[in-house]
């Protein structure tokens, strides 16, 4: 047993309202640069729908992820090492910009520059790729809320797997949102596809990152990732991907997408897993057993044997404690309601989902029946085969019984808690029907429905003694050495020149928070006045011009 820690996420799809706040804040944080216009580390897809990039789940076409050879050995679906090198000059499995969309902006200047004319001037869309005016015909969520889906949903590769007669009634019965980020897989096929070895999995927390200095732009990672969550920056010629907001995670803050989620549907926490068993689990012959295989790789952080092994393998004590309190462990292993996205890709993804019960509830309510009654809901789960099959194709490689079980638990929780909220006698038979105790049901309700901030996000800080190179924590002191940039110095060719060091994050959360919550007025330090960071306490030197009487500015008489 070799115990490793992994930061993981669970999303409760019942709560997603498809507002795209996560996508927008993520984009503002990470990909608002030239070359990454089309890059969405986080995107929200309407299901059924084609997803982003178009039809990325069609692995017959894109050949992402892993597959088994005839002898049962795990191999990259897109071809092994030799094939990768042979096709390196023109990657045949790379989506083109049309499979994503051609990014654009508008020539807003014409709105103010246009000469007097009969018609109101319009801002025409201009391509950010070619610079020409263009007709906008597709984007990252063109089929949002099933818009235009009659024309496009036939292209949904998941829907194609669901039996045919289902499709007609589908539109009325069923729609939900699927927010997606990088899965930070235990067995990442992007890393395995990278010829340069630039993509790595961090030993401490399992976050998968691209080393920008080592990436040579061979583009094999884009093809290798079955979720198409590695993107090619067409300006810099390097691959970029979701970073799990590692500068925030390292100081115990949730990722930007989680922090800004309006529906509070994201959970963050640690899981412990046995790194020695990952390859075996990913090689499980039957696709439908992959969910169970991945579960078996995850370790119980309360097991004394596991704790001993984790300590031996250098996992700090507070991290083990965090793994014990982890909402991810609770949702995956204790309550067994979270499921992985497309386990059949064999990458062992670590962003899991609680499938939505709401489509079932909606149907029951529309028929005029009591949508909080467990018997009605159980019956509806039995009856609504189409949506259930669709969910099964997404989360369990087609095993309907697993999705069935999860939805029954959610329905039971709904029904059981109604009695409590209305002051009636709770019915112990309801949790028992899904194999849960009353206490466990209440705990699950607390985690899913109340979803307190401290319980949703259990993020142990990274250890300074292991990582003297911590981005967030180290910024303050690293800038403050004598004559360094923190002392107001600048390079020989004016401000900004020379080896000027700047923190990776514009706002240093830990520092800013400490200053805002302290009682005394602190000096802003010398150097440039930055009003963006000024908290209103005291007056930094240079804010006001010097006074004629020689008194220091900002000081009262």
């Amino acid at each position: 047993m070799r115990v490793m820690a992994q930061m993981a996420m669970v999303m409760n799809l019942d709560k997603c309202i498809g507002c795209h706040t996560c996508s927008v804040t993520c984009k503002q944080t990470w990909t608002n640069r030239a070359g990454t216009e089309y890059v969405w580390f986080n995107n929200v897809e309407t299901r059924p729908g084609q997803g982003y990039p178009r039809r990325y789940e069609d692995q017959e076409r894109w050949r992402g992820g892993w597959t088994l050879t005839k002898r049962g050995r795990l191999t990259l679906r897109g071809g092994g090492r030799l094939k990768k090198l042979a096709t390196i000059f023109s990657n045949p499995l790379l989506p083109s910009i049309d499979d994503y969309y051609e990014p654009w902006t508008y020539d807003y200047a014409t709105l103010t520059n246009a000469p007097a004319q009969e018609h109101t001037p319009v801002a025409r869309p201009r391509s950010l790729i070619s610079g020409r005016t263009m007709k906008v015909s597709w984007s990252a969520n063109w089929d949002d809320n099933l818009g235009g889906s009659v024309a496009t949903w036939a292209g949904d590769p998941v829907l194609a797997k669901v039996s045919g007669e289902v499709k007609r009634s589908f539109e009325d019965a069923f729609m939900f949102y699927l927010p997606r980020i990088c899965e930070h897989c235990l067995n990442p096929s992007c890393a395995a596809s990278c010829p340069s070895g630039a993509i790595y999995k961090r030993e401490e927390d399992g976050i998968v990152l691209v080393d920008q200095d080592r990436c040579r732009g061979w583009r094999m990672c884009v093809s290798g990732c079955p979720y198409k969550k590695v993107y090619f920056n067409h300006r810099t010629g390097k691959a970029e991907k979701c970073t799990f907001c590692f500068p925030r995670i390292e100081v115990g803050l949730p990722t930007v997408c989680s922090e800004t989620c309006v529906g509070r549907l994201r959970y963050l926490g640690l899981v412990l897993y046995d790194a020695d068993r990952v390859l075996d689990a990913a090689s499980t012959p039957d696709e439908k057993d992959l969910y169970a295989a991945q579960r078996s790789v995850l370790l119980d952080p309360h097991d004394p044997e596991v704790i001993r092994a984790a300590t031996r393998d250098g996992i700090p004590h507070d991290w083990i404690e965090a793994a014990q309190r982890s909402p991810i462990h609770a949702l995956i292993s204790t309550f067994e309601v979270a499921l992985p996205l497309h386990p059949e890709y064999r990458t062992m993804p670590m962003v899991w989902y609680i499938p939505p019960l709401s489509p079932v509830v909606d149907v029951v309510r529309d028929t005029g029946s009591d949508a909080e009654d467990s018997d009605n809901l159980f019956a509806a789960i039995e009856a609504l085969r189409i949506p259930i099959e669709y969910l099964a194709e997404l989360f369990t490689a087609g095993d309907v019984s697993l999705v069935d079980g999860v939805l029954r638990k959610l329905a039971a929780m709904r029904s059981y808690m109604r009695d409590i909220n209305l002051g009636r006698e709770p019915n112990a038979a309801i949790p028992a029907a899904v194999g849960m105790s009353e206490e466990a049901m209440y705990d699950m309700y607390r985690l899913l429905a109340l979803a307190k901030y401290d319980e949703r996000y259990v993020i142990p800080k990274a250890h300074v003694e292991q990582a003297h190179a911590l981005e967030e924590l180290a910024t303050e002191c690293s800038l403050d050495y004598d004559g360094g940039p923190g002392m107001g110095g600048s390079g020989p060719f004016g401000e900004g020149s020379g080896a000027q060091a700047v923190p990776i994050a514009v706002e240093n959360f830990a520092v800013l928070q400490a200053r805002q919550t302290s009682d005394d007025v602190q000096s802003m330090g010398s150097g440039r006045v930055n009003l963006l960071n000024w908290d209103g306490k005291g007056a930094p030197p240079g804010l006001f011009p010097p006074r004629p009487d020689g008194q220091a500015p900002g000081e009262e008489r």
């Binding site: 000059f89 023109s90 010629g237 080896a499 923190p503």
Partner: protein
Amino acid sequence: MTDFWWVVVPYVCLTVFVVGHVWRYRYDKFGWTTRSSQLYEDRWLRLGSPLFHFGMIGVFFGHVLGLGIPESWTEELGISDEAYHVVAVGGGVLAGAAAVAGLVILVLRRRLVGPVFSATTRMDKVMYAVLGVVICLGIWNTIAGSILNLGGEYDYREGVSVWFRGIFRGDLHPELMAEAPFGFQAHGLAAMLLFALWPFTRLVHVFSAPLGYLTRPYIVYRSRDGRPTAQPGSRRPRRGWDQAS
């Protein structure tokens, strides 16, 4: 003058080549990339790029054979001049034709496909021009010198090759190049110019040929500690972090 062209220029260019690469690697790892334009256009690339690259690999090994291996070695192996000639000319013409065809496709694509053209830097244009000249002169030498025998028979293995190997061994023979036909002289000088430009162009990606991929384990694990930053916790703003317009 002979010494200048065939001793000084080669040493200067090769020094720039070596030092330039060391400098570029140390100061611009982030800029060290293939700068692929496949995202913009891939139908022409699918044809042109493998043609060009595999052609160039053939050309490279052809030069190793012709310039690197002394005539006496092949004679000792019992390979007759005629046999060598057939292999060299046959292989050379095949590889050269593939490289030229690929280069023509790639350059046309670069000029005619809007997004690819706007992603082309001035350095790219200079590099393409020099590379094109070097390749065309090389093809000319193969066809005119070795097949048509224009301007008399010339055995480069007793001329150019001896001079070229001498540069690396310190055994200088500038007079051999002074006697060589003009086509070989021009090809040699243009190639030297290309070597001097090399470290400052996208050609650096040649040295990133990922042969290590064949032997390394699939999944790479790295510790947070191992991050190569100049100062802990901070780094310079990266190229490419300019705002989208």
